[in-house]
């Protein structure tokens, strides 16, 4: 280790502490009893798990977890399949029409979801999509497709065309070429898409709070926010609920993270 590197070590240490702080305060708060008024900087010194039990029952988190899992898994699957299908012709056949379609799809990134909230709400009421899984799933898929198409198109662009031609000579149709040759090569960028989409959908609040108001249809963020509205003096419960909600997606991320950066730089930054 050279001298300049050693000079930066204290700085890196301070940065790490600073970025751990919120999680530290979240954990201390979630394990403190209701009548514990000690500073949030102090660790409880005892293990009080009633917060977790109370919030799990009171906010109906079991049902909310179930809804979250269904909505996230189905939305991510659909996003990956539709995104890969759309990206292939856009990356390989750059006709004038396809170039226009690509620009159109990517430009959706700029549309803030809340801009079209009022008409969407009216439409959801009219077609009976309120409080339904399918309605919110279609919305999530729609709003995650632009980024997905961007990453897939960029990545397919880096796959040599000679591969397509060789497969065609071997008798593949264009469709079987896509399924047999291209799809298996998409693994690294698919990992990135899966992480981005599942994090976004698991954590979604702005759509869920509007379209999933029924207590049985709620997802975790909606349950927590309505719980927070009623009991905002009971911070321990909110902390315990927040910790429980964040845990599954954090574990998924920690398992997939080594694929994440590779895919991100291959599909987006360099592609």
């Amino acid at each position: 280790m050279n001298k300049t590197t050693r000079k930066f070590l204290p700085l890196i240490f301070i940065i790490s502490i600073f970025h751990i702080l919120p999680f530290y305060v979240l954990i201390t708060t979630s394990f403190k009893a209701v009548d514990d008024v000690s500073s949030k900087w102090v660790f409880p010194g005892y293990w009080y798990i009633d917060n977790f039990i109370n919030v799990w029952k009171g906010a109906n988190l079991g049902q909310a977890f179930f809804n979250n899992i269904i909505i996230t898994v189905v939305s991510v699957l659909l996003t990956v399949v539709l995104g890969a299908f759309a990206a292939y012709p856009l990356a390989r056949y750059k006709t004038r029409l396809n170039r226009f379609m690509y620009t159109l799809f990517i430009s959706v990134l700029i549309v803030p979801p809340l801009t079209i909230l009022v008409p969407l709400y009216k439409m959801f009421v009219d077609v009976g999509a309120m409080n339904s899984n399918w309605g919110i799933i279609l919305l999530h898929v729609t709003f995650h497709l632009p980024m997905t198409i961007f990453l897939f198109t960029g990545f397919i662009g880096t796959i040599p065309r000679e591969l397509d031609e060789a497969a065609m000579i071997d008798g593949c149709t264009r469709l079987s070429l896509f399924v047999k040759v291209i799809i298996p090569l998409l693994k690294p960028v698919t990992a990135t898409v899966v992480i981005l989409a599942s994090v976004g959908i698991w954590n979604d609040y702005q759509f869920s709070v509007f379209f999933l108001s029924d207590p049985d249809a709620r997802t975790i963020t909606v349950s927590l926010s309505s719980f927070f509205g009623q009991y905002n003096n009971n911070i321990g419960w909110v902390a315990a609920g927040s910790l429980t909600a964040a845990l599954p997606i954090t574990i998924v991320y920690l398992f997939l993270q080594r694929y994440f950066i590779t895919g991100l730089s291959a599909g987006g930054v360099k592609g």
Binding site: L26, L82, L114, I116, L145, N203, I261
Partner: protein
């Protein structure tokens, strides 16, 4: 149908989804903004540009637009400066830098709503972690989240903190694609560390800067969840962005026509700001 035509239609499902759930509602939203609809009843009438006139004479609108710009520009500035600093720092070869990168990236994984609650535990009036420190120096705690001069910056800070990891990762990927040869040649010429940064690192990072600035601007300008969790846009509309003001107007005040026109204003602002940033930065990329 031959297989080539079939392949061209592979984006058809996406096109249908976008048409039904984005393009159609977008046009419908313009229509709704010209009515006095309350969001529920069957009866409403067209009132022309009345909602837009009302918008520009709304006593809160200027402050809300100002807040929206602070959230957008403030977060973008801080995320890029600090994110680039972190990337340069964590690009040097030391043991454990992977763990530090993960720690910095972790908040990206947490729901912005929950991130808002976590920081609420810091800044809340009664028993907040920040007030524990303030009480060491002052005899009274401070109600920082109710102070309209401060709460906008606290929310900007939380949004910056949450998405710093993305800026860092994009800059790290950019830094790693710069060839070491440039730096070796510059060192032979005796260029200082700062001049290497200015003449090699920054110009070659131009594409990463573009991606980061545009993503951060779009994200900051449409900020919603964090505001909802920390102040609910209040007191009054003091810390509201256009999104949270729109939410209030639609749900608390049942004024759907006016909410739709606020939504359209938000779209125009985000479009203008992010597209001008994109074109400006792209042009710089080419000339460098």
């Amino acid at each position: 149908m031959n297989s080539k035509a079939l392949l061209n239609l592979m984006y058809l499902p996406t096109l249908i989804l976008f048409s039904v759930l984005i393009f159609f509602p977008f046009i419908k939203g313009i229509d709704i903004s010209l009515t006095n609809w309350d969001g529920y009843s069957q009866e409403f009438r067209r009132i022309g540009l009345e909602n837009y006139k009302r918008m520009f004479s709304d006593p809160d609108i200027l402050n809300v637009i100002k807040n929206t710009f602070i959230y957008g520009a403030g977060s973008t500035l801080f995320q890029n400066i600090i994110g680039l600093g972190y990337a340069i720092l964590l690009n040097i070869s030391i043991k454990g830098k992977g763990i530090v990168r993960t720690i910095v990236y972790l908040p990206v994984i947490i729901s912005p709503l929950i991130m808002g609650y976590i920081w609420y535990f810091f800044f809340q009036f009664n028993g907040g972690a920040v007030n524990d420190i303030i009480l060491l120096f002052r005899d009274k705690p401070m109600n920082l989240l109710a102070d309209s001069e401060v709460n906008v910056w606290i929310i900007t800070f939380v949004n910056t903190y949450q998405y710093l990891g993305i800026a860092m990762i994009v800059y790290l990927a950019g830094l790693q694609s710069i060839s070491k040869d440039y730096y070796e040649a510059a060192q032979l010429d005796g260029a200082s560390g700062f001049s290497q940064f200015k003449n090699i690192t920054l110009p070659l990072l131009a594409p990463s800067i573009t991606i980061n600035v545009v993503i951060n601007l779009i994200g900051g300008l449409k900020l919603f969840d964090v505001i909802k969790a920390m102040t609910d846009g209040g007191p009054g509309y003091a810390s509201s962005s256009l999104s949270s003001m729109m939410y209030q107007i639609y749900f608390a005040r049942q004024d759907a026509g006016y909410a739709a026109s606020l939504g359209n204003l938000m779209f125009v602002i985000i479009c203008l700001v992010s597209l001008s940033a994109l074109f400006y930065l792209r042009k710089r990329e080419v000339s460098e």
